[in-house]
């Protein structure tokens, strides 16, 4: 009887471990194949912008994400995808580990985007890296959230004057200003 209990317990532990492993590497928000049943949760195409390898401009990359129920969740998902970096050409330009703490959107399309401290701490580089980091963020939000017209970036609840000392971030940035 004791052996049966031990065997059952071991099987349960193994099954839990397997279930955990199977679920662990599945990236949140990644594409569910069309063949999979997604009747309750939809899949949506987004367009993300990363830095061009020569530093001259942004490069767009279409991607699919699970549909998010709220604006906050959509922004969290977009920033998480930017943080993961490009799958095709281009260079990840958002400082590593950047995540969204809070999002506020007013009725005139001004989004106040509160990013984690990693946005500031994780920044490496000069003005090109800084320009592309901000451009990638603002352009990706503008392209996927038509209700967003301008973005004010704050960091861990505090206003920031600049990210790396080259571009002012003290005022909202127009999403159409970042070609």
């Amino acid at each position: 009887m004791k052996r049966v209990w031990i065997g059952g317990l071991t099987a349960a532990v193994l099954a839990s471990a397997l279930w955990y492993w199977a679920g662990r590497d599945r990236p949140a928000g990644s594409l569910a194949p069309v063949g999979a049943d997604s009747a309750s949760t939809g899949v949506r195409a987004v367009r993300l912008y990363f830095g061009a390898a020569n530093g001259d401009s942004l490069v767009g990359e279409p991607r699919e994400m699970l549909e998010a129920p709220s604006l906050h969740d959509r922004v969290v998902g977009l920033v998480a995808e930017l943080d993961r970096g490009p799958r095709r050409r281009g260079v990840a330009v958002l400082p590593a580990g950047t995540s969204v703490l809070h999002v506020y959107l007013d009725d005139r399309g001004l989004m106040t985007l509160d990013l984690s401290g990693a946005f500031r701490r994780g920044f490496r580089g000069g003005s090109t890296a800084e320009y592309l980091a901000v451009a990638s963020l603002v352009r990706s939000l503008g392209a996927n959230l038509p209700e967003v017209k301008r973005v004010l970036i704050v960091c861990a609840g505090w206003p920031i004057a600049t990210l790396g000392g080259h571009l002012p971030l003290d005022q909202p940035l127009d999403v159409s200003d970042w070609p």
């Binding site: 069309v34 530093g55 890296a129 070609p179």
Partner: protein
Amino acid sequence: MNEEDCKGGRSRDVPETPRLRIPRAVGLALVALLGLGADWRTPPPGEGPETAPVRRLDGTPYLGVNDLARLMDATKFWRADVRKLVLRSGAHSVALTADNPFVIVDDLTVWLPAPVRSMGGELQVPVALVDTLPSDSALARLIFDPRRDQVVVLPASGGVGSPRLSTTRERTRVSFPADRPEEAVVVARSRAHFRLRFGGIFLGVLPDSLPAAGLLRSIRPIAAAGGCAFEYAIDPAAAGFRLIQDVAGRGVVLELSRLPGEDLEDFAPEGPAGPRSIRVVVLDPGHGGSDAGVVVGGVAEKNLALALAQRLRPELERRLAARVVLTRGDDREVSAEKRAEVANRVRADLVLALHFDGFAESRAHGATAYCPPATFAEAGSSEGSAFGGDGERASREARGGFVGPGRLAVLPWRDVGSRYAVQSRALAEAVLSTLELRGQGPTRLRERLPYDLLGVNAPGILLECATLTAGEDRERVTQAEGLRQLAVAIADGVAAYRRNE
């Protein structure tokens, strides 16, 4: 999380970019060829409208459903048990079933010429579906282009057609048909680089040639984040312009006039013609103190910028016979406010903020200049058309400016540098041209008011003199001779700016 935590470390160690090993002569030849082909004065062309390829199955054009969802900006819901896919975009929905020609669009059942098919794990839908989608402002309009075998999405802002030009003795008019004329905005108002942006995408063609007697020298499409934008070169004889947004007639007219008038807006101030007077130059070595800037392979940007400023000072004094002032002469932290205060107190005639760039994991190299955008004119005209209509007024006010009644535009002090946008761009072009000619490119120019020039009441640029993450650039500027050559090139560029030829 406190404020200090948010500020984080000030020095930024940047991993070195892997260096490409190619023979020096071959490398120089390649750089020269690339330099010839590159137009550093313009941003790279932006992306066009969203498109999706069409494939033909048994002669019928089909579109992949993933592409269809992307173009419609729709969310996909898949029912595996009945092999049914629902696309939802706003209040609209499209229900497709594999191997079935019947599609439900909102409440209507549409019979397609061929069934929806499944290929490679993705449904393929006959392109004829795009003509049956509802046409309202909530849903993107899709157009099948059989010549290119692709489906193009027309955004909510619609399209912009081919411009028509008309010229009289006094006036030149450029008329664009546009679905949303109210979205047209003048984003730069210098004569040499006048820019007009539309919300819609450009579906027309630009004229091959322009009338010699007109006030328009050239027109070309430029990169835009959504919609489209054009850059005009306007004849110096033009006294002013007027943007007419004809919402009822669905058109936008840019009118240029040789004669000044109350109904005209001004171009950005250009300063006097002929050689420029430069009595005081402010050199602003970037970063300093605990803020080391870019750090690569033991080379710190703050030290290099200071060393360059110290070498550049005698070169400028010799060429310009001007007083040269440094915002810092040693390794200490100087706030942006303090830097601006130094420049304004000595009444600088130009300001050069000296930096070195860094962009890890990339192939970036060369120099970049930042100058203020030409958004400001000394005097706007009265209400209504003062700044290109309500759209631009809102945009200007959103940026912190105030558009008052009468011929007055108030500019926030932080943006005072935009009064000198035309001169600053000329300075940037002169310096970048010299760097390019001396083999220190490639160079790029960005019209964006840099942090170091906030509140600086003088023409100025932020110059990233080289890219430290690029091995060759770093090797060059960390040698005494390389730094001297860089200083000589910048000083020659400033001298060319002063000549204003």
